[in-house]
Amino acid sequence: MANKTAAVAAPTNKKSWTSYIGEYGAFIALVFLVVVISVVSPEFRTAGNFLNLLRQATFNGLIAFGMTCVILSDGIDLSVGSTLALSAVISAKLIMQGVPAILAMIIALISGTLLGVVSVLLVTKGRLQPFIATLITMTAYRGLALILTDGKPISNIAKSIGDRPNQFAFKLVGKGNFCNIPIPAILLIFALIVFYFVLNKTTFGRKVYATGSNSKCAKLVGVNITKTKVIVYAISGFMSALTGLILISRLDSAQPTLGDGYELDAIAAVALGGTSMSGGRGKITGTIAGVLIISVLNNGMNLLEVSTYYQDVIKAVVILVAVLSDRKR
């Protein structure tokens, strides 16, 4: 009998072409950019440049993946750049003091994770807004990095490592290649696969989306909101520390000012990828598109010798256009 009340036609599942643009907007923009810059700059379309571009994308990419999780859970992490610097400085200091590099690098990853946890404790226990909480830790971590280094860069790290295997490991992270592909790029692709899997296929992924979508409702069906948030910020801290290790390996030097402003590039990439800033909606595939758009733009504008003054303005316009076209209709 109940079925008979269904006189009103059920809505149909037709998607308009505009909604496809909304869904894949970032990829369309990326392809468009690549095509245009390829035509204008022959240098851009060489294999060497593409690998270079991919390596450059790694720094923002790894951080942006962590940031995507945080934003999906209705948070924000401004402390990523400072976390990167502090954990990098910690590992560099330890290495200079003779701690085996592999151990020092593991300690850096653990520190990054813990620094993320500190941020989130301010949110869950301290009941601060994520923006304020991470603004505080961002400032504090940067200060600590400056104190630890006395404001000076720690240089020639690789040389100070005595034994071969440890020196090799330290260099490998940032400068190594595997089958001609830079290790950082491999890390980026590996991380993309892991994040895709976790967000789309696991119960934890569902909990992240649910927390960002409606935490009250999620809590009432038994999702541990606090735990979910802690893990998400821990992931963000870990990814920042990992990026820090790649950076100091490449530069062979750890500066306390490392990663300054990285949080904004990461947030821009996440927004470009179509993730909602209020959580619950978004995709990791969108974020990688966003990361690549920013990298392609930077790389392309450098090759085309666009004045750095204009570069930022052009970047802003591209972000604006992409985000506008990505709006829900």
């Binding site: 036609a9 809505p11 569902r206 009432l220 069906v221």
Partner: protein, 494 residues
Amino acid sequence: MKIEMKGINKAFGSNQVLKDAGFVLEDGEVHALMGENGAGKSTLMKILTGVYTRDAGTVIVDGKEVIYKSPQEAEKAGIVFIYQELNVLFDLTVEENLFMGKEITKGFGICDKKAMRKKAQEAMDKMGVKIPINAVMSDLSVGQQQMVEICKALMVDAKVLIMDEPTAALTQSETEGLFKLIKSLRKKGVSIVYISHRMEEIFELCDRITILRDGTYVGTEKIKDINMDDIVRMMIGREIGERFPARDAKIGKEMLRVEGLTKGKTFKDVNFSVKAGEVLGVSGLMGAGRTEIMHAIFGNLPFESGKIFIEGKEVTIKNAREAINAGIGFITEDRKTEGLLLEKSISENIALANLGKFSDKSVVKKSKVDELVKKGIDEFHIKCFGPDHECNNLSGGNQQKVVFAKWVYTEPKILILDEPTRGVDIGAKKEIYSVINDLAAKGVAIILVSSELPEVLGMSDRIMVVHEGKITGIIDAKDADQEKVMTLATGGTL
């Protein structure tokens, strides 16, 4: 003001929402607009007030054909729509809300606070409502916020007020206050269009009723010439039969017992039990502590003292996860903020409550989810295009069915229902009653919290009444009537 709407058509894309709809509103009457969810009541009113444009049809106001292009234009003409989701700025004061967009200034955009305060106070006095005009909106109760909305409408000299389910979130006494106000407005010649699902209110308040079905005009009657069955028949186009379907459930052993549950002034020394296959109705005025007691049992609200027993064994439940594991399900009163992830699909909502069942070592098995969700859509008659249908685009009744499906599949032994039929049309209501009966027949112990007395009386085996956090009585449904329950609910004794 007399309004005549004729032959109104409106389609959203391929979805024809209104088809030859209309009604006539006389001067100074309270006119009920009824129909199932999706019948087109709100759409018709939004066309009248210029929120939507119409595809065809005419609107005649006081003999002149009009087309309002925006709600502001309609407001200028004296027609104001008070939405169900109130349109207030929660962080601002009452007075700021009243004058939003039409501030009195001393020129150069400088606000004349004094004049506005005076005028606001006058308007409040005229309505006979005591709300401090410098209070911040979010500190007021929903009923008071609504009064402010009405006040805002009266300040622009509204001749027609359209109210969409105004009592959905009001307490008993607030409802009475609203009714008094509506009646006094009618005396002053203000016409009111009253949209509601609550039959009792329609009969108490309205002069005439117009019924819409599937976007089409069905008929208009004088309230005194019509009864509830007629209205239901007109609304759904056929006999619905018994309002409350019969239940065939065997009452078994005790499933849940609560002893001495206490939390400060919120609730005190709460004792009751529910048996397998039994429906325990919980009645009481809004704010009596019913919802809080349920949240406490579910581990979502810490309490000071008291014991909870499930199947005779004492349990401590600290959070929702533990409650679910202990076999309790909880359909909360506010499905929009607590019951559903609105922007997510049916599938994701059902899966979230059942992640354990659907996953293997934390990896979600999509095929298992799809299988169960498809079964759920069939079993609960959820009208949708499939498991991926976003919950936002479902009607209230169908949203509630999703909430039911999600909880039923956690296989609870005890199911708490807090206002399960609020904002749900009569057809879907009956389906929900059938689900409750089926669950009881399967041996689930059910606690039904409801503000609708007929529902509690019609569906329960026993009725527990709460007044100011205390249980004032538990009576057999056989012996209960509206009067007895109300006596207990207001603190009296039988």
